[in-house]
Every structure is written in C-alpha cells, then in structure tokens.
C-alpha cells in the first residue's frame, strides 16, 4: 500500500503544475539582478544565499495540495481503514513530495546560477547542499501541510509556519556546512512523519 501511495502521489504531483515551484524559483532568482544590479562581483558572493531563499519560497507553493485534498476527499480516512498508520501515510507523502519537487529545483538551480554570475564550483557546492537539504524541507512542508489542513486561510498560515522553521536549513545550506545541514535534514525527516501523523489524526472529526 505504501509503494502504491507513493506512486499515486508522484503521478498526481507530476501534472502540468509540477513546474510551478521550479519556475517560481527561477523567477525569484531573476529578480535579484534587477534589485541589486548586474555587477558580477556583487552577485557572485550572494549567489548561494539567493538560491536558498528562492528554494524556500518555492517550497511554499505546493503546501496546500500536499495533505488537504486527501483529507477533504476521505482518502486519509480510507487509508486508516486499510490499516495504514497515519505516520506511514505521512512518510509516503514526504517521499513523493521530494520526488516531484527537488529534482526540478536542482535542474532550475543551473540557469539560476547563470543569472547570478556564479562560477561552476559555487554552483556544484550549492547543488550538493540543496540535495542534502531538500529532503528535510520536503518533510517540513508535509508536516506543516498536515498541521494546517482543514483550517481557514491554511495557505498563509502554512507559509508563516514553514519559513521560520526552515531557518536552520537555510543557515547551514547557504554556509555550505554540509554535515550540519545533513543533521538538520535528518532530524526533520525523522520527526516530521510523527508530527504529520498526529496532525492527521487530530484533524478527523
């Protein structure tokens, strides 16, 4: 059931709107040269940080479709009836969300680095940090989507919750402290299924 659920969520996530977060990511990156000027000496050093901020803002876009549609349509109830633990559902959703979100973001980071006049080495370092950090970001996104599912104005609330909680990922990712980034990412991956599972249970009325 878990494999089928991941496959289903990847299929549902891989529609025309899959590119939206990656496109939004590039758009945010493209705004920076307009805001601070096209000087490569200025853009180069801030490049990795800008890519990270763009990645965090892009992570906000899919929040409202991660949990709420399945809660409203009774899919989460039916999974519980099929004796799938809510924590397992959350873990499957984290895996599926990462698969539909992170690879496109990593691809979009390449033209993003060009827009920011970053050199190849800086791009490679940022790509590695993003690859390590995005699983934690996906876990955080699913947990927050579950906590806010069913609430009025859930989208805005989820954004307000996600950005502060993603600060550790941002700090260690932008500073390229890969071990600390991996530690934060693992911590989020380990904790998020339990938070999301408890939130799914609490949302049943």
């Amino acid at each position: 059931m878990i494999g089928a659920l991941i496959a289903r969520d990847v299929r549902r996530g891989s529609t025309g709107t899959t590119w939206l977060p990656a496109a939004f990511f590039l758009l945010v990156v493209a705004l920076i040269p307009f805001a601070v000027g096209p000087d490569a000496r200025l853009l180069g050093p801030i490049g990795p940080g800008v890519l990270w901020i763009a990645a965090l803002t892009a992570a906000l876009l899919p929040l409202d479709r991660l949990i709420e549609p399945d809660r409203a349509d009774g899919v989460l109830d039916q999974l519980a009836i099929h004796r799938v633990a809510d924590e397992s559902v959350a873990a499957a959703k984290i895996a599926a969300h990462w698969l539909t979100f992170a690879p496109l973001l990593l691809i979009a980071a390449v033209p993003g680095a060009v827009l920011l006049a970053m050199d190849g080495k800086a791009l490679l370092r940022t790509e590695i940090a993003l690859a390590i950090g995005t699983p934690g970001l996906a876990a955080l996104a699913v947990a927050i989507a579950a906590v806010t599912a069913g609430l009025p104005r859930a989208g805005s609330l989820a954004a307000l919750l996600l950005l502060p909680l993603a600060i550790p990922l941002l700090i260690f990712g932008a500073a390229n402290a890969l071990l600390l980034e991996a530690a934060v990412s693992l911590l989020l991956l380990a904790g998020a299924p339990f938070v999301a599972g408890a939130a799914i249970r609490a949302s049943r009325t």
Binding site: R8, D73, G74, V75, I81
Partner: protein, 183 residues
Amino acid sequence: MRPLLRFDQVGCRRGGRLLFDRLDLALGPGEAVQVAGPNGSGKSSLIRMAAGLLRPVHGAVERAALALADDNLALDRELPLKRALEFWGGAVEPAMSSLALDALAGVPVRMLSAGQAKRASLARVASSGAPLWLLDEPLNALDSDGVGRLAGLIQAHRASGGAVLAASHQPLPGDWTRLELTP
C-alpha cells in the same frame, strides 16, 4: 461466535454535546443494523466511531476488517473510474458490474453524476472483501435501480457471512434491525 463489530458502553460527545451514551451494539455474521434518527442525532458519528475514525469519550469498540462508504468519495478525480477503484484493491470488476458501472469504467471520476459517484463508493465497499460494511446514508442520490442493486449486494454479503451497519433516515430495502438514536 465473535461479533464483527461490538460497541461496549460507548459514549459520543461532539462539540460539547453528548450525542449518545452507554450504547451497546453487537453485529454478528449475517446481521444488518440500521441506525435511524433525525438529523444531528449522531448517526454519522456512530458510523465513524465504528470505523475507528472517531474516539469514544468512554467505552470500547472492537471491529473486524471493514469497508466504509460515506459522503467522501476517496477516488482520484482525474483517473478513469476503474483505475481509481483499483487503487483500493480487491475484486473491482464484479463489484462494478453488480452496480452497473461497467460502461463508466473509462470515464474520469470527476465526470460522474452524484448518483454514479454514490454507486462508485458502494463499489469500493463491495470490492473490498471486508466482512463488515459501514454505509452512511447509502440511499442518497441513488435511483430506484441503484437501490435495488444495493439491496441485492447487501443480501449476498449477509448470506456469505458479512455484516452491515447502515445509517439512514429513510427506510432501507430488506430486513434490518433498527437502532433508534434520539437527539
């Protein structure tokens, strides 16, 4: 014989209001119980409690493997009906033909009418192979042909040792033990 569903002194509180209290109920193989009562008397809550989706404030609920059909379709709207049903597993084809859904196998779930969607959710239950069926307002939006087919399905399910708990404010076809909830 072990019952398929057992409520032992169960109380249900929703929104600070006690809907029912000290409720005992046992459903053995072949039995069917209709939960009746006016709007807001706790019929749906009782069904969700039987499904394990709501916790009782006190008392205990024991249940066998079950299938639930309520207002939520729980089928992917963009998929053709047959593929959407297949996600939940079980014997999809016989269940679809017993509810006359064969012709709609390739139709996306979002295109179904309310009555067709109700048949689809009943097909999800019929294909599950679970011994206990929980049906919340199963007659809503069904036409007379659909009601007849549902009655046949329930009869066959009971004959093969299954049990049905249905919540409905209107009379259900066939013979049912009535459980009346008072507001």
